[in-house]
Subunit: 344 residues, 2 copies
């Protein structure tokens, strides 16, 4: 098994990526790697982490980098030789079984869309973000890959989420909820109302509509929505968490007694922060493309990179995409052409 690793992705590239790769090389002896990045920029870190000339690492040169500030569409056209595009090309050519990038989500979605294409039958890709709940974790699908969705897209996200959640949570029948603005099926928007009717007939454990105020309680294993709404929920949660830390700090430093209290309870705040940014997750899979692609957070630590590589390898071993295709066939048997119903 061979995994392409984007050395230039993320805020701490290439140092953090190569340090993470060093952990992966030791921990996953059955994996080979294609390290994609500018050869001059990675050389120092390969030396530093004892990976120079390593027999299981092939160095693939990429001239440019997609900066986080680059618009996705421009990145693909103007930066044909960016590390993300080169990774996607390796995945397309089946030179590698999977790719891992802690970088630019938009650019990765654009590059894989054009180069790697989708799995047969799957209309649009979806990003599965791993979110915290009071009872553990849940998957938010789509977290931003496909902002405009038809009903079939949400149903296909549900199929893919079902398969991925089986791997990730190790449960046979993950609960699949549809993000909506009301508990009854009469509520919602045109898109969710049309998708609801299809999801009821899909070969999954569909639990119905789920409102956003209950998702963090852990009422569902998979939360399905269009990529616009999903990205707003994801980013909104990140933003509110950051602001909560800001407010908490401000209020805990108002007087000496509170400061002493905060100091005594310091470890509790550290643990609270860790809920949001769990390094153990590694990254979010881009589901629906004809290959395995794991996208890490821009702020990925070496441990997060190592775990993104672990997830990529496990997805290959789990035969994730074969299972998605099989499940999609079941879906077609259940729904037939009804899957292609129109709806905003």
């Amino acid at each position: 098994m061979k995994i392409a690793v984007d050395a230039m992705g993320g805020d701490f590239a290439p140092g953090a990526v190569i340090e993470g790769l060093a952990m992966a090389v030791t921990d996953f002896p059955h994996c080979e790697f294609a390290l994609v990045g500018h050869q001059d920029k990675v050389a120092f870190y390969l030396e530093k982490y004892g990976l120079a000339g390593h027999p299981r690492i092939e160095l693939v040169h990429a001239e440019t980098v997609c900066e986080m500030s680059d618009p996705s569409a421009i990145s693909l056209r103007a930066k044909r030789n960016s590390s993300i595009t080169v990774c996607a090309r390796l995945l397309k050519e089946k030179t590698v079984d999977a790719m891992v990038t802690p970088g630019h989500t938009g650019a990765t979605v654009a590059a894989t869309k054009v180069l790697v294409r989708n799995l047969p039958g799957i209309d649009r890709a979806a990003l599965a973000a791993n979110m915290p709940s009071q009872k553990g974790r849940f998957l938010l699908i789509d977290a931003g890959a496909t902002p405009d969705c038809a009903p079939r897209n949400l149903v296909e996200f549900a199929i893919m989420g079902d398969v991925y959640a089986q791997y990730l949570f190790g449960i046979p029948n993950p609960r699949i909820g549809l993000l909506s603005v009301g508990g009854e099926d009469v509520k919602g928007c045109e898109l969710t109302k049309a998708a609801f009717k299809l999801l009821e007939r899909a070969p999954i454990n569909f639990i119905g509509n789920v409102e956003a105020d209950t998702v963090f309680e852990g009422v569902t294993d998979v939360l399905i929505c269009d990529g616009f709404t999903g990205n707003v929920l994801l980013k909104g949660a990140e933003g509110l968490a950051k602001s909560t830390v800001y407010w908490l700090k401000k209020m805990l430093t108002k007087n000496a007694m509170r400061l002493i209290g905060a100091t005594l309870a310091h470890n509790a705040f550290r643990e609270l922060k860790a809920i949001g940014a769990a390094d153990s997750i590694g990254g979010a899979p881009l589901l629906g493309i004809n290959g395995i692609c794991i996208i890490g957070h821009g702020g990925s630590t070496p441990t997060a990179v190592r775990n993104a590589i672990r997830v990529a390898a496990e997805c290959v071993e789990f035969k994730l995409n074969n299972r998605i295709i099989a499940k999609h066939n079941q879906l077609l048997e259940a729904l037939g052409n009804d899957l292609y119903v129109s709806g905003k």
Copy 2:
């Protein structure tokens, strides 16, 4: 000026509503009130708060109540004589200048849509939720009244938000941001891309796209989005805040030292909680209908009810709807028929 108050709305009705009304009767001597509710159920509280037979309070009987669990559409049909529907009827007949309900948002939207109708030129109503940011507050419009929007709806929400923010924040040119999934105008969904082009030409202080992770930092005074996305952002924030309290409690009670720390810093947590549920806000206006309607939170305290009544009275004095109509005329001058561009 006369204001209809829904005595039966909210979790603590009618007690909390009538206690709030008692405060309003004292604080706003220029206002008369129509208290709408079941006469047998309100009698005790009118007596208790010294309002029985008060010259500025007319008691209007309403046979039924919209329970929070009632679907909106059914509430309107099956419960013609619910307190919300009776309030909407008084507003329609211009018997009152404004209505206040701490109750069922969906039922209120449905009742006002059918009975009160929209302002001339305004296609859809929008709920303006008052949200906390690091720099103060911002308005989230639409928070759930119109789940499916055309571009013109978002532009009309912006016009209404501009006028309401001028009243609420006392600033002449409130910043209006469009909730989207990217900073550049090429990103977003079909709806936001089409709305963006119109908003650039609208007679408002349009600051462009705003991503959800920055809204709680206070980057905009008004945040415009469709009612589905807005409701998800609002409810998601409420849910995450509740879960954060849950996690914080769990982590602060893990050992004795943390418990002592938490006790010393207790007031800081109290202040943090207050950010989310500010009684001073009172309620959210339903903008775009041909009357003033303020919807309070289901958990409204007497102070919150009193302040919702204050907001209703101030909106009447501010001539909110006349200003919205004037601003909409300016919009039509600027955009003409382009306002009616189609787009998902």
